[in-house]
């Protein structure tokens, strides 16, 4: 079954009398377990596309089916619940809470969920990214690479159907970036759907499929022939 199915998806922004079309009728399907990179230069509409796919925004027109359900019919509160349950976010700038411990940061999405065993789930999630030894560190006491791994742990904690990673290596050095890509590939190997948004070909080549968009249209949608496999940093990943 398709996880994501979009048909003729459009997004227009209206400023006064000027209508700017950011997405001009986009079509694709993403199956469960895929690792898709959405590529494009800035202003191409890839961020808007990601926002719509992750229920942060709504299309102006067109169909968006998630797990077979048309999401246009849902209200904001249900979309919030859906984000909590089905979506994990990894941002370029980490977006961790300051003056808060690693553990509490990972627990954040659980606060809005119906789950009860918060500590247990958060610890399990941090173990998966190799940060069990950093539970009670404050976010200003850890490195950039570790911050992004905390963010991945946070994205995982509610066991979502899909993880959206928006330029996850953009603020990292190549070594830390490599670790992050390794983790994403590992998660995908375990069956998790990953949607990666990037403008860097090197990063996109870690995915299995690349959708290129420009000026609101899909340029190409093809599998990655020579996939880059990130290797684990033995010191960081157990």
């Amino acid at each position: 079954m398709n996880l994501i199915n979009i048909k003729d998806l459009r997004k227009d922004y209206i400023t006064g009398d000027v209508v700017t079309s950011v997405l001009k009728g986009v079509n694709f399907k993403i199956d469960e377990g895929e690792f898709v990179a959405i590529m494009g230069p800035s202003g191409s509409g890839k961020s808007t596309l990601m926002h719509i796919l992750s229920f942060l925004d709504r299309p102006t027109s067109g169909l968006y089916e998630f797990k077979g359900e048309n999401i246009n019919k849902f209200d904001d509160d249900y979309l919030a619940e859906l984000r909590n349950r089905e979506i994990g976010f990894v941002f370029q700038s980490f977006n961790l809470l300051t003056r808060t411990t690693v553990l509490d940061n990972v627990k954040l999405p659980l606060v809005y969920s119906k789950k009860t065993n918060h500590d247990e789930l958060a610890k399990k999630s941090l173990e998966a990214v190799g940060l069990s030894h950093r539970l009670n560190y404050y976010t200003n006491q850890i490195s950039g690479g570790e911050k992004q791994r905390v963010a991945i742990a946070r994205a995982l904690v509610c066991d979502p159907a899909v993880i959206f990673a928006d330029e996850p290596t953009g603020n990292l050095d190549s070594k830390s970036g490599n670790t992050v890509m390794f983790l994403l590939q590992q998660l995908n190997d375990q069956g998790r759907t990953i949607i990666l948004v990037t403008h860097e070909t090197d990063t996109a080549n870690h995915a299995k499929r690349i959708i290129r968009i420009k000026d609101g249209d899909i340029l190409s949608d093809e599998p990655v022939l020579h996939r880059t496999i990130a290797d684990a940093d033995k010191d960081l990943i157990k």
Partner: protein
């Protein structure tokens, strides 16, 4: 999102910004403390004033010479002689004033008491044997003068407990039977009038701001003729059998006195009839109004404190825009965000309220200690209502002033909020 986890979250946020939290609640704290202190002081003052009035006794009607000074106070020093002994006699007529259980005619003046080599300046009351029936008190020793002593103008005196102490306690002499001399300070009765002490009244504190224990009591005729050399009265007390009859008694008194004074037109009325219950009611109305005024002043500071909360919450929402964006991205609904900030504001003001109550109660208590030390009959009163009210108002302030920033936070678009720098 459950309530407990919101509380945990909010407490964590407030603790992370201790300095700001303390400064923010200061306005509310001062406002609440102000309300508590003012209500407590108002209640204390009211109990003090009412105590002064009601100590006179209830169901009491007071008649004074001179027209009711509605347009202002009577001229000081002006002696009004319109009330005389025959007026009191006329009022004793059961047929005309049926509900009066006692009619007590009084005159008063300042005098010097001499006993041995001791002299005391005090106030004396020339009164009659109905005095114990109108005013509540008990005898410490001896007795009050009888009707026979009163009408016969016997040379006897009843003294207050403090006078007895000052004159006799150091020599250990029993006051009863001693002869003291009473000299008017306005009338030249050289050497003073010798009077035999027949009773001492138990301590009873002050009423109408006069220390009752420093008074001495002589038969009316003695006071009028021997000490003061006058024929008029300064006050008549009438005790009514039951409060329900006090209005009709006031009317009866008016008609008796008008007839006595040959007054046809109310404009010429030369006496004043008052009920102590009225005075008590009037005084409590005044203190209530005063308290209300002061409380509303303090309430203004609560509003100012609320605006402080509004200000800080606006800053907090702006500061935490990215956090709000993140929370929405990971599943927070509008309601959850709104509740978080609303709870934060109410917790701030609630905290300010609690601190304010502690300070307010403490200060009120210290003031009551001071007033008691100064000799006032002061009661330390903190009404539970004032506490409930101020906590309620402060939390309400938090909700009222926190609502706008909270709604603002809830309405933030997660995409914009996540991009916010």
């Amino acid at each position: 999102m459950n309530f407990l986890s919101i509380i945990q979250l909010v407490v964590k946020n407030l603790r992370a910004r201790k300095g700001r939290t303390a400064l923010t609640i200061l306005g509310i704290t001062i406002g609440v403390a102000g309300v508590i202190i003012i209500i407590s002081l108002g209640a204390g003052a009211q109990s003090l004033i009412l105590g002064q009035v009601t100590k006179l006794g209830s169901n009491l009607i007071v008649i004074q010479p001179g027209k009711t000074a509605e347009s202002g106070a009577p001229i000081p020093g002006l002696v009004i002689t319109s009330l005389v002994n025959s007026d009191a006699d006329a009022l004793r007529d059961k047929g005309r004033v049926p509900y009066a259980t006692a009619v007590n005619a009084n005159t008063r003046g300042s005098a010097t008491i001499i006993w041995g080599n001791k002299t005391i300046d005090t106030t004396f009351l020339g009164t009659d044997s109905d005095y114990p029936k109108t005013i509540d008190f008990t005898m410490q020793s001896g007795q009050f003068f009888s009707a026979a002593e009163d009408t016969g103008g016997a040379n006897v005196v009843v003294i207050g407990s403090e006078i007895a102490n000052k004159l006799f306690s150091d020599s250990g002499v029993n006051p009863i039977g001693q002869v003291i001399k009473v000299k008017s300070s306005v009338q030249s009765n050289v050497g003073g009038v010798p009077l035999r002490v027949i009773g001492v009244i138990s301590p009873r504190g002050s009423s109408f701001f006069q220390n009752q224990d420093e008074l001495i009591f002589v038969p009316l005729v003695v006071g009028q003729q021997q000490i003061l050399g006058i024929h008029h009265l300064q006050m008549i007390y009438i005790k009514v059998d039951n409060a329900v009859n006090s209005s009709s008694t006031v009317e009866a008194i008016n008609s008796v006195l008008k007839q006595q004074h040959h007054i046809l037109d109310d404009i010429n009325i030369d006496f004043t009839v008052r009920r102590t219950d009225d005075a008590a009611k009037l005084l409590s109305t005044i203190t209530d109004a005063l308290s209300l005024f002061l409380v509303s002043m303090a309430a203004i500071s609560l509003v100012v404190g609320g605006i402080g909360i509004l200000n800080i919450m606006m800053v907090t929402v702006a500061e935490r825009t990215r956090e709000i964006g993140l929370r929405k991205a990971v599943g927070a609904t509008k309601k959850a965000i709104r509740n978080q900030f609303l709870l934060e504001a109410s917790l701030l003001t609630g905290l300010g309220g609690v601190v304010g109550i502690i300070i307010g109660v403490l200060v009120s208590y210290l003031i009551s200690l001071l007033m008691i030390k100064l000799g006032y009959d002061w009661a330390f009163i903190v009404s539970p209502l004032s506490i409930i009210l101020s906590v309620g108002v402060s939390i309400l302030t938090g909700v009222a002033f926190g609502l706008f920033p909270a709604i603002k936070a809830a309405k933030l678009d997660p995409i914009d909020a996540l991009r916010y720098e």
